[in-house]
Structure formats: structure tokens, C-alpha cells
Amino acid sequence: MLKRIYIDNFRCLVNFELRFDAINLLLGPNGSGKTSVFDVLRRLQEFIIGDARVHDVFPTADLTRWQLGKQQRFELEIAVGDDSYAYSLVIDHDADRRRMRVFEEKLDLNDRPLFACKEGMAQLYRDNHSEGPQYPFDWTLSAVGSLHERPDNQKLTRFKRELAKLIVVRPIPALMERGSHGEQERLTHRMENFVSWYRHLAQEHMGAMVTLLGELKSALPGFDSLSLKEAGEDARALKALFAPPGGGKPIAFDFSELSDGQKMLVALYSLIFGMGDEGITLFIDEPDNFLALREIQPWLSNLADAIGESVEQVVLISHHPEIINYLGGAHGRWLERDAQGPVRVGNVPGSVQGLSLAETVARGWEK
């Protein structure tokens, strides 16, 4: 479970810290940095476990415009049972030479070192925290990410596995591809590869599919099942089967024929139920987009009930009144900034007496 993120000198996030619980809803005006927090998480994932180079994921253009400093700092705290990982990354930007490099990368477990890399010199520690080998390392890559699992670095590689359990998405149904040319274990940012990811789920989490299809039957009138049909060599097309009016053999519709709302429901329920008991953390930016009003609360309550089972933690961004009223009071974090200044974060202000929280926010009366 992600307990804390710290970001300094990234867009509007300066000396910014956010702590997380099991259920979290990020609220705030447009431009208050909510999506930027998700962007940082996604980029850290790409950098550490996606083998991306630092200039591909942390370009100089994302330095805070009004800051003079050319160093960016990111920190994560991830709890696994009673253990606490602390990861930090410091990036130097040389704007004149358009060059950026990892100045420092560190990973501690319960305040004891597992790995440290500074100015291109890496120091590995064994699982018992004794010093291991020291070696020069590429300044543009994650040294933590480069390490493969060995008997004496189980704790470090467990951190990478936990990081991989963070799913950071902003689903856009219109961008979801209709078919798949292979299984994909990780979702892309806008869930473009949903069908390939679903193909992976259907292969690796077959038991979870029963639950998923059962829930989709509640959400989609007439829904029968999902099916991956051959569509050429190694290719599969996702079909949604619906019962015809009056009964009879289900009719297969191509995934691309579904409405945006239907695609969204399939994707959102797959996020909750498709991974079995993996204990994932979901970061979903505006899950309410395209959903009928009637569908939002049932999905939210299913999500809340999945906490501690298939889902370990959830962080949502939303402006929708249904979500604000359902989660905002107990689980909301309020992000705001003055003009183009840095983002501040606090608890969600109370609603005005007699008004719902969403109505309070809609009136701008939360201040």
C-alpha cells in the first residue's frame, strides 16, 4: 500500500506531500495538481520497472516554471505488511545542455539501506543490510530497476513487485483497441490495451472471471458473457454477448460496437474483480466519465467492499457529485493552489449546513 508520496519541482508540485489511506478521493479545482500526482506515479513506475530512461519520463519541460532550482525530488513510502519501504529519486536537469541525469536513487527498508546510488556510483546492500558490491552505473537509468532477483536481494525485488501492483489509469473508452495481438500484463495509461490486458486476466486469473462476469450482469442489462475470439494469427477480438429480446441464443457484439459507457463499465469492473486476490492499488482518474448516474454508486460500493480483498487500496480523482458525496466526506483530500502558485493539500472542508458536500463545492463555498 502506498502510504506517502513527496514531489518537489514537478509542474505545480513544489515541496508537496500527500499521505494515503485505504480509500482516497482527490478533490479540488481544475489545475490543482491532482492528475500531476498520478503522472508522477506512472512515470516512476515506468522509470523503475519499465526500463525507461530518465529523459523519456522526466523531461526538463516538467520542472516547475517559477523555481530556479534544477533538481527534482520524488519520494515514495510503500507499506508491505509491517514493513515500510522508502524510495527516493533525485534528478539533475541541465537545461542549457538539455541533459538530465539521476543524481541520487535510494531504497531503504524500515530505515535501513537496501540500495543507494549517487552520482553514478551504486552501492548494493544484501537482505541483511550488510554492504554488497559497489559499481559504476548508467546515470540515465534506474539502478534499483536494473537489479534482477537473487537469493540475497529478495527484499529489494519485493519492492519492485509491490510497485508493479500500482495500476494508474485514466480510462478513455474511445481509445480502447478492439483486438489484441498478445497478452499484456500492464495496462497503458488510458487503457488503450484493455483487450490485451483482459486477455492476460482471462489466462492468469480464470477464477476471477466468474465473479467479474457475474457483476457485469448486474451492470449491463441483458449481458451474458465476454469471449475472446480468434481474429488471425495470435490475434483475438473481444466479443460481448448479450441475450436477444425474447430470449434465445446470445448475440455477439464486437467490443468496438459497445457504447463508451458500456466499455467503461466492462473496464471498471475488470479493474475491481479481474485480478483475483492480487491486492492491487488502483489509481483511477475520473472513473465516472461516460457512466450513467444509476451505475456510479453500485460501482463505488463494489469497490469499497473489495478493499482488503481483491483491491488493497484505491485513489480516485473525480468531480462527480455522486462520488464526492459518497466518498468525499470520509476519504477526501482537498488540493488547491493560489493563482499559479504551488499546490497545497488538506482535508476536505466540511459541507455547509443543509447542503451536500458536492453542492457546497459546486457553489465554491468550501472555503
Binding site: P221, Q297, S301, D305, G308, Y326, G329, S351, Q353
Partner: protein, 179 residues
């Protein structure tokens, strides 16, 4: 699919407990519409009480086997006294109080839902003391499972909190999902 159970509740923890229990009993998320008092806006009990008459009127108007389930703590009052305040509010707002035959189920933990959690964990709580809250609402899942198992066996473990016994009696009015 339309909602058949309206859950009017004074806080998230009680709503989570009630929703999870209903789901254990065969209801689905789409069957349930939750209306939960917003935190930080004064008394959740007052919020429920003030909305009870309009929800009662709406459920009556809807008919069609729709159930109103109300969750509110007794706190330091008796269960009967808390239910009486709901009926008094109906009269104040010009709505007929609920009748015994109506599908309106009052779930009134005393002192509050944490008392029932303590009982369901195997403790022997009294209904006057305050018991600790769970860090997360979903932490009540094992308690819901225990209560469901007791329901299936047809008996609460003795000595059960009287407010839980009263809620079980109220729950007898719950129709079958496919009824």
C-alpha cells in the same frame, strides 16, 4: 435494474456493515441505494431523522416491494426511544409514521455499531460503554460474516446485545430478493 433497498444511514461504518450484510444475504450492489449522512455536518442521527419522513414517503409512493432500511445509533437512549424520535419526526413533517406491516426496517445499534462488532468478535460488550472503531470501514467484513453465519444457524450467541436482537426481529420483514 432499479434499486429495491434504500439504505438511510448516519455514517459510513454503519452503512458499510449493513450493505455488506445485505450482500451476504443475496442482495447486490445494484439493488441498494445508499443515503449516508455527510461527515462534519453535525449530528448524523439528526440528518437521518430529518430525512426519514421523505424517504418513507418515497418508498410508499414507489411500492413495488421497495424496502427502506434505516441505520442510526441509539447512543445513550433506548432503541425504542430512538425509533420513537423517527416517528415523531414523521408527524412533525406531516407524514404518517411507519406501521408494523410496512417494509421499513430499523437497525439501531446501542450504543453504536462498534458494540455489535465487539460482540461479533466474541467479546461480551455492554451497551453503555464505547468500543474502539476500526481504522477502515471494510475491516468489519469478518463481523458481517459471523452475523450471517449466526443468522443461518437461526440463533445469536448468548448473551447477545438486546439492540442486535431487536434488529434481527426487524430484519424478519426483509423480503426475499426475488420475492
Amino acid at each position: 435494474m432499479s434499486a429495491r433497498v434504500v439504505l438511510l444511514c448516519e455514517d459510513q461504518q454503519l452503512a458499510t456493515f449493513m450493505r455488506r450484510f445485505l450482500k451476504r444475504r443475496g442482495w447486490q450492489a445494484h439493488d441498494i441505494r445508499e443515503k449516508i449522512a455527510p461527515p462534519g455536518q453535525g449530528s448524523g442521527e439528526q440528518w437521518v431523522r430529518e430525512r426519514f419522513p421523505q424517504e418513507l414517503a418515497a418508498v410508499r409512493a414507489r411500492g413495488n416491494n421497495t424496502v427502506l432500511t434505516v441505520g442510526t445509533d441509539a447512543d445513550t437512549r433506548s432503541v425504542a426511544a430512538r425509533i420513537a424520535t423517527l416517528n415523531q419526526e414523521c408527524q412533525r413533517q406531516g407524514v404518517s409514521p411507519r406501521t408494523a406491516s410496512e417494509p421499513v426496517i430499523m437497525v439501531v445499534p446501542k450504543r453504536n455499531i462498534e458494540t455489535w462488532f465487539a460482540y461479533l468478535r466474541g467479546e461480551s460488550p455492554n451497551e453503555d460503554d464505547a468500543y474502539p472503531r476500526y481504522p477502515n470501514e471494510s475491516d468489519c467484513r469478518n463481523d458481517v460474516r459471523t452475523l450471517d453465519e449466526m443468522c443461518r444457524s437461526g440463533k445469536l450467541r448468548d448473551p447477545a446485545p438486546p439492540s442486535l436482537q431487536a434488529a434481527c426481529s426487524e430484519y424478519q420483514k426483509m423480503p426475499a430478493r426475488n420475492g
